[in-house]
């Protein structure tokens, strides 16, 4: 049989239709142009510059950087480190995330709410709080290693410490993904298996687990991507175990070897993007769970003691670890000299207030500027992608989703080499930091915007349009109020993520604008763990207060509790 081929004429006709649809509405056209320009300038162009730079030596095309990069044994080790770390962390995180998710969806456990809160906490917290407190716990002067066990020569820096920290940081990603999928499994499918004679274990083995295989693969890949792109944790606790993301910075900024840095950035980008592609187009598409669709009735939770007990204690243990880790940083900030002199002291805070208040002010201010822009822009993009047909839609959709997969260090390096020269000199300004915040935090908002828009019948917006509202009016008066939950949670996550961003901004800080996270890193670097803890405590405080204030504001504005989810 001959395949149905779309003729050129039909395509042209289609294109013309889209063109007239796009140009008919000037406000929409301007918006689309603006979005496309922004994405091109701050995502695509910097990446292109990195790629170009990696092939350039004094204005000529060359492969020298690649040759050097691939023959240097230390680089090969770094590459190996990155992969091994990603693999290890992704596997352990997926397992822990699955156990938490399973106990949430299937078991009748006490303290479920606490387990859930703990499982989400690392997502909203600054990335290296866990690394910092791990040093306080297990370092040379660590509370457990030195204080409790009396060891004097422990080395927490390196692979093991890094795995520990990254697992605690990233298992929530796996948890959130898996718990959503587990809740979507129709309980009657498992009841059917039970009814046909399968024991509980058999049901788990032959039904639940096989149904979750795509989800588990998905969680594994997502954690892998995050681990590979992670900059803060390896920087703080990696020690001699260097990863690609760190080396991009060390090479590009530390050693002023832009050529070498860009090559590493290209390699890192390739790894991340291929993982992302596998995740999105291969594993992500393969889901059994949507097949059954609506859940028919609530699941009967498992109450068998021999199943519940071990899982309960496991959850309790992880919860204890996470809790301990978070309690330790504030504690550490009030102690004179950790491991030696445990007397209470405000000296670290005095130092912060005397010497280094600037980063706190700057970070908060710039995050406050970028947050509303991010929120609105994310919803506009989500709206365009879901609801409109126009030329360039695929570009917008693809680029904004792709930016999730781009490691922060790569974008950071890209901004440095792109915007330190004419026509657009932005390095050293606050603008480039705001742009970095927006570009790094927007994809999450876009994703939740798209998800909630897809659940709303487009005919509601069509009705508004039909009744005389312009497309801008439709967006502000109908669309935005309907996707309010996604918008608000986008605002909060945008702010939190901006405050805690390290990887990109470390390339962009200047004498004029220093960032809180970067300040913490440099304190850790010179061994002032107490001051770093004080900074971190302040950061946690700001983030918590911000979340709290937004919650208050929102409930005042009439948003229901359910509208507010991070």
């Amino acid at each position: 049989m001959k395949k149905n081929k779309i003729t050129f004429k039909a395509r042209w006709h289609h294109f013309k239709q889209k063109l007239t649809k796009t140009t008919r509405d000037p406000i929409m056209m301007m918006t689309i142009l603006f979005v496309i320009t922004a994405l091109s300038l701050f995502i695509i162009y910097p990446l292109y510059k990195i790629l170009r730079e990696s092939f350039m030596l004094q204005g000529n095309f060359t492969l020298t950087h690649y040759e050097k990069a691939f023959t240097l044994p230390s680089n090969l080790e770094i590459l190996r480190n990155t992969i091994v770390l990603g693999f290890t962390v992704a596997i352990i995180s997926t397992i822990i995330g699955f156990i938490f998710a399973y106990s949430n969806a299937y078991l009748k456990l006490p303290n479920k709410k606490i387990f859930n809160a703990i499982a989400i906490l690392p997502i909203v917290s600054p990335p290296f709080v866990i690394a910092l407190s791990t040093i306080l716990l297990f370092g040379r002067k660590g509370l457990i290693t030195n204080g409790l066990l009396g060891w004097t020569n422990t080395n927490v820096y390196g692979f093991k410490g890094l795995v520990f920290v990254q697992v605690l940081t990233f298992f929530p990603i796996a948890f959130l993904l898996l718990v959503g999928l587990l809740q979507k499994i129709d309980p009657s499918v498992e009841e059917a298996a039970r009814d046909l004679g399968a024991s509980r274990w058999n049901v788990f083995k032959t039904i639940t687990l096989p149904l979750m295989v795509p989800g588990l693969a998905n969680a594994f890949l997502l954690v892998f991507i995050q681990t590979v792109a992670d900059f803060g944790n390896p920087m703080v606790i990696g020690g001699n175990y260097t990863t690609l993301a760190v080396q991009v910075y060390l090479q590009g900024i530390g050693n002023y070897d832009i050529g070498g840095g860009t090559v590493l950035a290209v390699i890192l980008l390739m790894i991340s993007i291929s993982l992302f592609m596998i995740q999105k187009y291969f594993v992500g598409k393969k889901s059994y769970i949507t097949v059954t669709g609506k859940v028919s009735r609530a699941r009967e939770l498992i109450t068998d003691k021999h199943i519940i007990r071990p899982i309960y204690y496991f959850n309790l243990f992880i919860t204890f670890l996470v809790g301990l880790v978070y309690a330790l940083v504030p504690l550490g900030s009030f102690v004179k000299l950790w491991g030696i002199d445990y007397s209470l002291s405000l000296s670290h805070y005095k130092y912060v207030f005397d010497v280094g208040l600037e980063p706190i002010k700057d970070t908060t201010m710039l995050a406050l500027i970028s947050t509303p822009i991010t929120g609105i822009l994310a919803m506009i993009i989500a709206f365009l992608v879901v609801r409109r047909e126009f030329i360039g839609k695929n570009f917008i959709e693809f680029t904004s989703m792709l930016s999730i997969a781009i490691p922060g260090t790569v974008i950071g390096l890209g901004y440095v080499i792109t915007y330190n020269q004419k026509p657009l000199v932005l390095t050293g300004t606050g603008i480039i930091l705001v742009i970095a915040f927006i570009m790094r935090t927007m994809p999450v908002g876009i994703r939740s915007g798209i998800a909630s828009l897809q659940q709303i019948d487009p005919s509601i917006e069509e009705a508004a349009h039909d009744l005389g509202a312009s497309s801008a009016k439709v967006f502000t008066s109908v669309t935005l109020p309907m996707i309010r939950p996604a918008f608000f949670s986008g605002l909060v996550t945008g702010f939190v993520r901006s405050m805690t961003l390290v990887s990109t901004v470390i390339f962009l800080v200047s004498a004029k604008y220093n960032m809180l996270t970067v300040a913490i890193l440099s304190q850790v670097d010179v061994g002032r763990i107490g001051v770093a803890s004080a900074y971190s405590t302040i950061l946690i405080l700001i983030v918590t207060v911000a979340i709290w204030i937004m919650k208050m504001l929102l409930s005042r504005l009439g948003a229901s509790q359910g509208d507010f989810e991070i």
Partner: protein, 355 residues
């Protein structure tokens, strides 16, 4: 096929606690006996406890009190996998990651039957269901009707002592529902399996069952053959729930050995009865719309609604301030009445049921 088993429910009760701590009695002390090979239907409005009862028999809900016997064995302490029942789910509940063959073979594989026995039995049942050319399809590639057939095959292949159905046809469109109804009954009679079927659709219940159990608010209102529950409902709830019902006041004139003379709006009728009545006793009677004959001189009433349905002309008339429904079968060539016309009618004596 293995032997069909009977089911006995003794003083079965199920209480639930709601979110706000209130106790709800879903099933209230019911007793029921199902004979081996019998097809019985639990029929009732939503929330009447029929599905809870079925799920207790399958083992998914634990009774608050009372006991369940399957084939003379008390099963209260057996988990669903240990009970000799197979359930056909409302939403089919096929395993989405398995093809038709593996879905149907699942239970046999769990029992660790030999490969040859599994394939023989699965193929036999798929032949019976006329699905032999679909064995490699996965659920997402099948229509609702096909999925339901697989679901039935998956239960039948287990040769269970009791086959349970939880509103299996409610997700299908009307035509397919009629067809599947017929198929289920045919297969059930062919294999002679004890079946308990839950539905809220009275037509389904009547056309499928040997016996219908009408439930309401956790109790059993009536157990009977389809004819009994339709023609001689035990109370007004059953009368109203099963089909359309005209319920009117009347007075007994005299009772004489299974026959009463009864006064209905000053007209005298003679009716055969099972119960004993006294003279001058006030009673309520049921007359189905098709038990009323038009163009009879007994009464006249104003037509308030007249609808042509093809096979029937359906009327509603204002009869002494009460709405009475009348079905005139096969209106082809007969006189029909429009709204606001006066229609004469009378009751068909054999169609009067006295509560």
């Amino acid at each position: 096929m293995k032997e069909a088993k009977g089911v006995v429910l003794k003083n079965l009760t199920k209480k639930f606690l709601t979110q706000d701590g209130k106790e709800v009695v879903a099933v209230d002390n019911i007793n029921l006996e199902v004979n081996p090979g019998e097809f019985i239907t639990l029929l009732g409005p939503s929330g009447c406890g029929k599905t809870t009862t079925l799920r207790m028999i399958a083992g998914f809900e634990t009774p608050s009190s009372g006991e369940i016997l399957i084939g003379n064995q008390i099963v209260d302490n057996l988990t669903p996998d240990k009970r000799d029942t197979a359930l056909v789910f409302q939403n089919y509940a096929l395993f989405p990651h398995m093809d038709v063959y593996n879905n149907v073979a699942y239970g046999l594989k769990i029992q660790k039957k030999s490969k040859s026995e599994v394939s023989e039995r699965v193929n036999k049942i798929l032949d019976l269901m006329k699905m032999e050319d679909m064995i490699y399809r996965v659920p997402s590639q099948m229509s609702g009707g096909q999925q339901q057939r697989v679901s039935l095959a998956r239960a039948l292949v287990m040769e269970p002592g009791v086959l349970l159905f939880d509103e299996p046809l409610s997700n299908l469109d009307a035509k397919l529902r009629l067809h599947m109804r017929y198929e289920i009954r045919k297969i059930q009679q062919k294999v002679g399996i004890t079946s308990i079927y839950v539905t809220h659709d009275q037509e389904e219940a009547m056309s499928l069952s040997d016996k219908v159990v009408v439930m309401n608010k956790g109790i059993i209102e009536q157990i009977g053959t389809p004819q009994e529950i339709y023609q001689k409902p035990i109370n007004e709830f059953v009368a109203n729930f099963i089909g359309a019902a005209n319920i009117l006041d009347a007075e007994i004139i005299e009772y004489n050995e299974g026959i009463v003379k009864i006064n209905i709006y000053d007209k005298e009728y003679t009716v055969n009865v099972d119960k004993v009545y006294e003279a001058r006793q006030k009673v309520r009677i049921l007359v189905r719309p098709e038990g009323i004959t038009i163009d009879k001189d007994d009464f006249d009433a104003l037509v308030t609604k007249s609808v042509y349905m093809g096979d029937n002309q359906e009327y509603e008339v204002d009869f002494n301030g009460k709405i009475v429904q009348i079905n005139n079968h096969n209106p082809f060539g007969k006189k029909t009445y429009k709204e606001n016309e006066i229609l004469k009618f009378g009751f068909d004596e054999r169609s009067i049921h006295i509560f």
